[in-house]
């Protein structure tokens, strides 16, 4: 019985539930479509998932710290438009640092308002989502931007290059995931983020610099957006004004699917990676099965709800409960 299994192996299932679901999906799609489990398809899905993936890594840290970041989508539009536009004007060697700095400034504004002034992160980042989208339109005057000479620039390396036959975006994504995983599990900063997300008051009473920690999580989130913008700009060699629109929800979906608690204080970088891949493969699988692209929204939502439910059920040891 499911309930007995949940009771017996509660925490174990909660930990592995997403992995089990992931494998199940892969098997189902492999059976339903012979194109699904080909190296070409898998690598291409993986590569496409890296944009959402890299951003989700940063947002995972923000969420573990007890906050939200909904501004990452329009921040991605901002960063991508900026780096692509400046590429031809001042060259990639200057365009990249300028874009990174500008994006970090946006992250610092989030961090200041939420970390230092202690304003509600939902309100602040929802506002920033609109503000930054406005900034992009002011900057670009509504025009889309692109890079004139797309074949000869070394900037193509980030999105289109490969190292030992593995696409650069995949290496960047996995490398960053590993670094963040180590930071969150093996370094003092990670421990402090978990403490602040788990109980901000007790953290302050333990001498944890709460404001600074929260501020840093938003800088990290912005840094991830900057990296994602390099991959995206380099892959497309151009950018629309609203290229990142809606990314914030996909990112959040991946983070939740990875089992990171929206209440803060617990979560895992590696499981976010699983969440990202699962979302990407579900979407790809549905398309290969000939479903219209919007069915993926429905399926994604259902998968998230079930994942969250199983997670909560495992924690309280039963599927339904009138009390916490």
């Amino acid at each position: 019985m499911l309930i007995d299994r949940l009771k017996a192996g509660g925490p174990a299932i909660a930990k592995q539930g997403i992995l089990v679901a992931f494998i199940l999906f892969m098997i189902v799609f492999s059976v339903m479509s012979d194109r699904f489990m080909t190296t070409g398809n898998v690598m291409s899905v993986f590569r496409q998932a890296t944009i959402i993936g890299v951003i989700a890594l940063g947002v995972t840290i923000v969420v573990i710290g007890g906050n939200l970041d909904l501004s990452v989508g329009s921040m991605l539009s901002f960063a991508t438009v900026l780096v692509v536009d400046l590429h031809d004007k001042i060259g990639p060697e200057l365009a990249i640092p300028v874009m990174v700095l500008a994006t970090l400034c946006l992250g610092a504004i989030n961090g200041f308002l939420i970390g230092i002034l202690r304003l509600n992160s939902l309100i602040v980042t929802l506002g920033m989502l609109s503000v930054i989208q406005g900034l992009v339109l002011i900057y670009s005057g509504g025009q889309n931007v692109d890079i004139a000479n797309q074949t000869d620039t070394w900037f193509r390396f980030f999105g289109r290059g490969a190292i030992f036959g593995v696409a650069t975006p995949i290496i960047i994504f996995l490398g960053l995931a590993l670094v963040f995983h180590v930071i969150m599990t093996r370094m003092p900063f990670g421990r402090r983020v978990i403490a602040v997300g788990g109980n901000p008051t007790a953290s302050v009473f333990s001498g944890v610099p709460r404001s600074r920690v929260v501020f840093m999580t938003y800088l990290i989130s912005a840094l991830c957006v900057a990296v994602a913008a390099m991959i995206l700009g380099s892959r497309v060699m151009g950018s629309q004004n609203n290229v990142g629109q809606g990314y914030e929800l996909q990112v959040l979906a991946a983070v939740i699917l990875g089992g990171t608690s929206l209440l803060g204080g617990s979560g895992s970088i590696l499981r976010t990676v699983l969440g990202v891949l699962m979302l990407a493969f579900i979407q790809n699988g549905l398309i290969l099965m000939g479903q219209p692209y919007y069915t993926q929204w429905l399926v994604t939502w259902a998968v998230i709800i079930i994942a969250v439910w199983l997670d909560v059920a495992a924690k309280r040891g039963r599927l339904f409960s009138p009390i916490a």
């Binding site: 978990i194 403490a195 109980n199 008051t201 007790a202 009473f205 001498g207 204080g265």
Partner: protein, 504 residues
């Protein structure tokens, strides 16, 4: 067989296990109609778990529950209440924005057609219950505007909306004044005379001996026995509870004070406290005694860098210091064990070790990484020193008993090797066994040369642990007493704002 001989409630052979812990190990318990049956045990002995089983919040692994002689299955608190079993919680669980009446009938508001609330009926019934409890407020008032004691009355009133057979009081007097306790005891006796079975959980021996007819003791999840109150005494109960006698004497070793470690001059943070001056020497315990709201906690928070004073000076080891943040305070060797361990002391979902090492986690490194060995060394040292009972360092702090949680917090701050240790209400909500251990620990720390400040609202506690007592009233220091000169009367006068007539 008359009705009074059938127990109102019987629990037989209840076993409840959690991962790694056998919280209840075959516990028997029964309550007869019209008796007060006290349930005693140290924190972690299983009292709360047993009551949660009774209320249907936990399902027992083994054993059965009988109500009025009939075996029943209780799967949630609503069912429990329908069976006439009502739990009055230790922590208030009221909705502060609603009226007393709405809280009393929460979830079962009287209705009229179309699902509309029958307000007239609601208020009439609620007021009738409040009158029965001799409350002097009306059911129409918003709960947030009531005192804690009156909120507790609302909680009790909730229990009386059904024909209760058994009412469980879990530490009901924790936040009540002496006058309010008298009212509560009247209510309990009143319920008793109406044939209701009362389960009374408390750490306070005097209350248990005034109120109860029988006493059942649990230890480490096991049933230790049931005593008839009239035929036993405190010592016998304590022995059953902690397996030994309590040493309640003061440590009379000649005090050996070192140099002044902390000096506070004219510290003000209006309107919380004003013009506060005192000193603490090495090897000395200074007790801060006063009523809730006298400004003692606020002084501690100011010394710990969490509040900014308007004026005044603080000296540590003779040097004037500025403390602008908790990090400053920690750097200067000040530690604060805060008054509310669940909200301020611990990150409940973090494990025991991580909680303990949190203030110094950035220093416990091997290269850039956390040093597992250094963290475990600290945890093991203070687990052994403070005898913290936990199956592993990986245990989530939230599942430990109150006493063990408090020891984790104390261990956290001792591991910082503080020069000044401030302890705010160290034994609030902690059983007598752990309490006396913590008192002994505070005395030991002083004899090791720590400068200790103990903030407490319990007179026996300050009298037992302090070398000197600072009495506060409304944010001001009223008097300072050497422990040998203090009398209970003079102390009570000082914290009530009555000026001492004798010259200093």
């Amino acid at each position: 067989m008359t009705d009074t001989n059938t127990p109102a409630l019987q629990l037989q052979g209840i076993v409840k296990t959690f991962p790694g812990v056998r919280a209840l190990d075959g516990v028997d318990f029964d309550v007869r109609p019209g008796e007060v049956h006290a349930l005693l045990g140290e924190n972690g002995a299983g009292k709360s778990t047993l009551m949660k089983v009774l209320a249907g919040m936990y399902q027992p692994n083994e054993g059965r529950i009988l109500i009025g002689g009939q075996p029943v299955q209780i799967s949630n608190p609503i069912e429990a209440k329908a069976q006439g079993v009502v739990l009055i919680h230790q922590e208030l669980s009221l909705v502060p924005e609603m009226s007393a009446a709405e809280n009393i009938y929460l979830g079962e508001l009287p209705r009229k057609g179309m699902g509309r609330v029958n307000w007239k009926e609601l208020y009439a019934r609620s007021n009738a219950i409040l009158e029965r409890l001799k409350c002097r407020f009306r059911a129409e008032v918003t709960v947030a505007n009531l005192s804690i004691a009156n909120q507790q009355m609302v909680e009790i009133a909730r229990a009386l909306t059904v024909d209760a057979r058994v009412v469980v009081f879990d530490e009901p007097t924790a936040s009540l004044t002496d006058a309010e306790k008298v009212v509560l005891f009247d209510i309990i006796n009143d319920l008793k005379s109406q044939g209701v079975g009362i389960v009374y959980i408390s750490h306070r021996m005097d209350e248990i001996f005034t109120l109860s007819d029988r006493i059942t003791v649990l230890r480490d999840g096991q049933y230790r026995g049931t005593l008839t109150t009239a035929e036993t005494d405190e010592d016998a109960v304590t022995r059953l509870m902690i397996g030994r006698s309590l040493d309640l004497s003061r440590n009379e070793a000649a005090p050996d004070f070192g140099k002044t470690m902390l000096e506070v001059r004219n510290l003000s943070c209006a309107p919380l406290f004003e013009d506060v001056s005192f000193t603490v020497r090495e090897g000395e315990v200074v007790g801060f005694y006063g009523l809730v709201g006298a400004g003692r906690t606020e002084i501690a928070e100011t010394l710990f860098g969490l509040r900014t004073p308007d004026s005044g000076q603080v000296f540590i080891d003779g040097q004037e210091v500025t403390i602008a943040s908790a990090q400053d305070a920690i750097g200067l060797g000040i530690s604060l064990v805060p008054e509310n361990r669940k909200e301020q002391g611990l990150v409940l979902q973090m494990n025991c070790r991580d909680n303990m090492t949190l203030p110094q986690v950035h220093n416990l490194r091997a290269g850039p990484f956390l040093s597992n060995g250094a963290e475990l060394a600290i945890f093991d040292k203070y687990r052994d020193k403070l005898e913290i009972k936990t199956p592993s360092w990986k245990q989530t702090a939230g599942v430990l008993s109150g006493g063990n949680q408090q020891k984790i917090v104390i261990g956290k701050w001792l591991s910082m090797q503080p020069r000044v240790l401030i302890v705010d209400e160290p034994t609030r909500g902690i059983d007598v066994g752990s309490k006396s251990e913590i008192h002994q620990l505070l005395r030991d720390l002083a004899s090791q040369g720590y400068a200790v400040i103990v903030i407490s609202s319990e007179m026996p506690e300050v009298l037992r642990v302090s070398d000197r007592i600072v009495a506060m009233y409304h944010g001001r220091v009223m008097r300072e007493f050497e422990i040998d000169d203090v009398t209970e009367d003079s102390l009570v006068q000082a914290i009530s704002g009555i000026k001492a007539s004798e010259p200093a």
